[in-house]
């Protein structure tokens, strides 16, 4: 058998944390999107690990959906970035503060 | 949404109540999609809807069996089973005449004070409001009540904001937010109560009779009672939660004011009886002095402030505060006489206030002003209108032989039996109501009319008098022969009072010579 699920969870946590920190620290929107992908991967990893632990294929099915959603999110995210770039130059997140309350 | 399946065999042969709730709402939606440029079509369709509703309401009044205390014509279906919400409606002595009141006042309000501008939408809103009010009065499922209770806000908001006076936006917003804040407490209380009930019995339900059996510690009961009461106190309004009402009444169109003061105010007092007294009898009983005091303050304060108003509509707003103070007093007296009087007074207040607003509307339509100071001497120019106003004023100040007296007298009698000094203080309102009403009448109707009044003021026409006729007839009829109404109200009141008394282990106040022999001071507290 392979290593204990706990190790996978720890690895997932590390990847997720790196993703979080990256998301918060980097200003390039593209890289921020990549960080999100990192976080999603981390969660996928734990899903699969738990699926193994519980002998339940449901966890894998969830990963399947997460993949689809991730793909969709990247498509929309990139489309937004492209349309923003048409209007202005620069792709840092801090340029986008039109949500200011 | 979930599907409606019949659950109990208690349903009546014909689903009168479902029909009377849905009829105006459906007509309202239909009117809403009618072409905007043809107001006459909307008037006819809306009129048919309201007439049908009124006929149905009268039919329910006649089918209603006297001498029974429970709910009649019950409709009970599970609606959204996952949330334990059921389509549960029933009518009893408490709600019967309020339903009749809504069905009566909605057409009178609409056709007594027509709006020339965007008529179609206005009729649509009034119809929806009518259905929502009827639904609130008939719902026996707390959640369904809440839905209808909140649904009344939307048409009212649009009626005030769309057809109101100069400060309509501010008035509508203040009314909406204030009421919504109260409702938030109601929602919270309701969910907590249902949650407690679920944790005790394992079933999630919002059914009133089931929830009434929930075991509550005293402190929880008080907390929930206050949550529920917050919503009702704002809606009624009870002093000091009334400050939205003068602005809302003043700025709303006449029809809106009639519905606001005539019907929607009753939602608050109705809720106090139906929910607070049924669900939280102990808290209601123990906290009664608080509400009696607020009621008395409302009676006196409303009358005093009304005396100084320069604006007829604001005057009615404060006089409503005063009159509804009497209703609150009657409810929290916990005697058969007090509560019966309170329920009757809800109906009376609706009729009197509606008539008053309609008359103010007629005067305003002619003179273009509802400032009392700009009027004067109307009685010389329009004696019939003045005479009708006089009858309404006299009903408002509680002249025996007119409806206002019956309610006030029963309330004061009932209150006197248990809470003597509150009744004594409230009786001051009897004097003050004469002061502010007669003073206002004198300023507007007595004296010599000036040129402007003579040229602009006209006698009321046939249509206007026909619209007022049923109200005046009811004012006199209830004043002289209230027994048919009292016979229908009293059995329900008996059971409510018995419910509260048994929950508090007290016996009803005794009257008569025997009891006084033992207590020479007359049983006062």
């Amino acid at each position: 058998m392979t290593v204990s699920v706990s190790w996978y969870v720890i690895l997932g946590a590390i990847l997720f944390t790196i993703g979080v920190v990256g998301l918060l620290v980097r200003r390039n929107v593209l890289i921020m999107l990549m960080c999100i992908e990192l976080m999603l991967n981390a969660s996928n990893l734990t899903f699969v690990s738990f699926a193994r632990q519980h002998q339940d294929v449901g966890g894998q099915a969830d990963v399947f959906f997460v993949l689809v959603v991730a793909a969709a999110e990247v498509v929309v995210g990139l489309a937004i970035i492209v349309s923003i770039f048409r209007k202005r130059l620069g792709a840092t997140a801090d340029d986008l503060s039109s949500m200011k309350g | 949404m979930g599907n409606i399946v019949p659950s109990h065999g208690a349903a009546s042969a014909l689903p009168y109540l479902t029909v009377i709730i849905l009829l105006p709402i459906i007509f309202g939606l239909v009117v809403g999609v009618l072409p905007r440029d043809k107001a006459i079509v909307a008037k006819v369709v809306g009129g048919i809807g309201m007439l049908a509703t009124a006929v149905l309401a009268v039919a329910i009044m006649f089918i209603f069996a006297t001498g029974k205390s429970g709910y009649q014509m019950v409709t009970d279906h599970t609606w959204i089973s996952q949330l334990g919400i059921s389509w549960h409606f029933g009518v009893d002595g408490l709600s019967l005449f309020l339903v009749v009141l809504v069905a009566l006042l909605a057409p009178i309000a609409l056709y007594g004070a027509e709006e020339k501008y965007r008529t179609t939408s206005f009729i649509s809103w009034v119809l929806i409001l009518e259905g929502a009010c009827i639904g609130s009065f008939l719902a026996l499922d707390v959640f369904v009540f809440f839905i209808f209770f909140e649904l009344t806000l939307i048409p009212t908001y649009f009626m005030v904001a769309g057809w109101g006076g100069k400060e309509r936006g501010k008035a509508a917003l203040k009314f909406f937010l204030y009421t919504l804040l109260g409702s938030a407490f109601l929602l919270a209380g309701m969910l907590i109560l249902a949650g407690l009930h679920q944790s005790q019995t394992g079933t999630l339900t919002f059914d009133l009779t089931a929830l009434a059996k929930t075991h509550l510690t005293y402190s929880t009961e008080v907390l929930l009672f206050l949550c529920f009461s917050a919503a009702f106190a704002v809606k009624t309004p009870i002093f000091p939660f009334h400050t939205w009402s003068p602005l809302a009444y003043k700025e709303s169109p006449i029809a809106g004011a009639v519905m606001l003061a005539g019907v929607m105010a009753k939602l608050g007092t109705y809720g106090l009886v139906r929910f607070d007294l049924t669900l939280f009898p102990r808290a209601s009983y123990r906290l009664a002095p608080l509400f009696l005091t607020l009621g008395v303050i409302g009676i006196i304060y409303g009358a005093v402030v009304a005396a100084w108003q320069k604006d007829f509509k604001r005057l009615v707003a404060f006089s409503s505060l005063s009159h509804l103070g009497f209703v609150v007093l009657g409810i929290f007296a916990f005697t058969v006489q007090g509560l019966t009087g309170g329920i009757l007074q809800m109906f009376n207040h609706g009729i009197v206030t509606a008539a008053m607003f309609l008359l103010i509307g007629m005067i305003t339509k002619r003179t273009g002003s509802w400032q009392i100071s700009s009027l004067g001497g109307i009685q010389r120019v329009a004696p019939v209108l003045a005479g009708i106003m006089m009858v309404v004023v006299l009903a408002g100040l509680g002249l025996p032989g007119l409806n206002g007296f019956i309610g006030e007298f029963l309330i004061l009698t009932g209150t006197f039996l248990i809470h003597r000094w509150w009744a004594v203080a409230a009786a001051g309102g009897v004097i003050l109501s004469a002061v502010y009403l007669l003073w206002a009448y004198q300023r507007a109707f007595h004296g010599t009319p000036d040129e402007g009044i003579v040229s602009k003021m006209k006698e009321i026409n046939f249509k206007e008098s026909m619209i007022l006729a049923p109200l005046i007839a009811l004012i006199v009829l209830i004043g002289v022969f209230p027994a048919p109404m009292l016979d229908r109200i009293t059995p329900t009141v008996n059971s409510i009072v018995a419910h509260v008394d048994s929950a508090n282990h007290v016996s009803p106040p005794s009257t008569g010579a025997k009891s006084t022999l033992s207590s020479s001071n007359g049983g006062g507290k």
Binding site: L23, L24, R27, A93, D94, L96, S97, M99, K100, G101 | T243, Y301, V304, V305, A307, W308, Q309, V336, Q337, T340, G377, Q379, R380, P383, L394, L397, F405, F409, L410, L412, T413, F416, L417, A423, V430, I431, A434, V435, L438, W439, Q442, H446, G447, F481, P482, A483, L486, T490, V493, N494, T511, G512, A513, S515, T516, L517, S520, N521, G522, G523
Partner: protein, 640 residues
Amino acid sequence: MEHAVIFIPIIPLVSALFLISFGKKLGEPLSGWIATLAVGGSFVASVITWIGVLGSHGIDRTFIQHLFTWLPVGSFQVQMAFQADPLSVTMALFVSGVSTLIHLYSIEYMHGDKDFPKFFIYLNLFVASMLILVLGANLLITFLGWEGVGVCSYFLISFWFERPKAATAGKKAMIVNRIADVGFLMAMFLAFQSIGSLNYSNLISAAPHISHTTLTAIVVLAFVGAMGKSAQFPLFGWLADAMEGPTPVSALIHAATMVTAGVFLMVRLSPLLALAPGAAHFITIIGIITAFVAAAAGTSQNDIKKVLAYSTVSQLGYMFIGVGSGAYVAAIFLMVTHAFYKALLFLSAGSVIHGMNDEQDLKAMGALRALMPMTALAFFVGWMAIAGVPPFAGFFSKGDVLLGAYQQNIFIWLAGVITAGLTSYYMGREFCLAFLGKRRWEEKPKVKKAARSSHAAKEVHPHDPGFKMLGPILLLAGLAVIGGLLNLPFASSLKVLEHWLAPSLGIAPTPLHAASSSVQWVLAVVDAIVALGGGYIAFAIWSKKSKHPELEPVFLQSAWYIDATGNAVVAKSGTRLAEISADVIEPVVIDGAVVGVVNIAKFVGVGLHKIASGFVRREALVIAGGTVILLLAVGIRGGW
């Protein structure tokens, strides 16, 4: 026969409703005649009922006609029921009788008024209410009529509503009555609480079983109600102001009928009152104060109607002295005879005002005797009657009251006698100023009053009125002369009224005429001397000269400033309170609290607004922080 009792109030009521619908079309004088006939019909019905009641004896002379249940609420059951018993039939007879005469009088008096039909609607409604009041079989029906006469008096006082003074006087009458009505209401509540019923029969039968304190409280509270309606100290100001109404109104309401309602109520409750001596003393004291204060005020009035108004107040005080001293029959006796001579006086005064083109100032009259001989004669009879000169009606009725007072307390009697002297004096002064002396109406330039009647524009030519006015006056004059026959003191068999009323009344602690007959003779002689003396002094002073400022002090002209004080204290401070409440407390304190809460919410919102910087990463940081907290919570709940 007794069943006719329900027709007594219903005929004028139906007539009023009929006139509301068709009065305008019928116009003048037909609407007036219909109204008069209706009240006459009610008098006939009263007579029929009276004959019916005479048919039975003793306690059986109480007949109750149930119509329907008015207020059925649990243990509280109030019937719409009318009671025909000696007391109520007596009242009904004299109310409907005097009212018929006044209606007839009004047809001529109100001739030419713009609102002629409306006047008769109000009069009919008023009579119907008054009859409901006296015939009611329980307190609540009485209260129905009680408030009905109150509101009709409001209508009638402010009948000439274009005059601000009239409108204000009407409102004042209504409000002062309402203040007192609270007492009546409280009496009813207390009666229901302690006895469980408002029916007079139940009240009377239960009275001996309830506690003394409660009984006293009920009676005193009911008397507070009576103080308003019967214009007792200190609530009598409204009655003087009520003279703003047309004169027939003053005659009908403020002399003969409405103001006697309070006396009637107390006599109706006399079985309770007899058991509550404390309350009786209170009533006596208020009565004597009122009688004296009002009589003194009457000596200095210059308005022909105001003298009569204060005299009415004073006479009502006498009636309450009778009630308080247990001389219930005497009170009713005085009430009936007072109705005769006071209606006579008012109608004569109205005839003078009518002849003088709406002039009411006594100082602008004089020497009318020659021009209006019949009126002068009638007024003279009225003077004699009210003064208590034998053998006029007032001598016997007032004598009975004073006898009752004497048996209670000699000082009350003494005050009563002094007041009787004052009464004779001020009526004599009025008679002299109006009918004797020199013509004074041509001296001062006439200030035109509101010219409402068609005859107002003409030159002043005082004259006796036509038969519709004079007929009632002469009939009343006759009654004022012979009214004493109702209850002559000489022999027991002559005390008709006393025997007749006995079943309806309570038994006073000391029966009237308990004193020895020699004492009674002495008292009667004293009364007669005082009456004649007061009259003579008035004649001596006022028949020659119309100006004696030293005898008309300002404080008496303003009725001891009692009304002015009440006005200043209650009305002014009340207005101020309303102003402060509406302009300060409402917007600043109560709505201010609401606005304050809104402002707090706004403040918090503005604060939070700063946090919402709009920078994506900052908001992401907040979300991430929230995630940490959520994880922490889940971990703690799950116990890791």
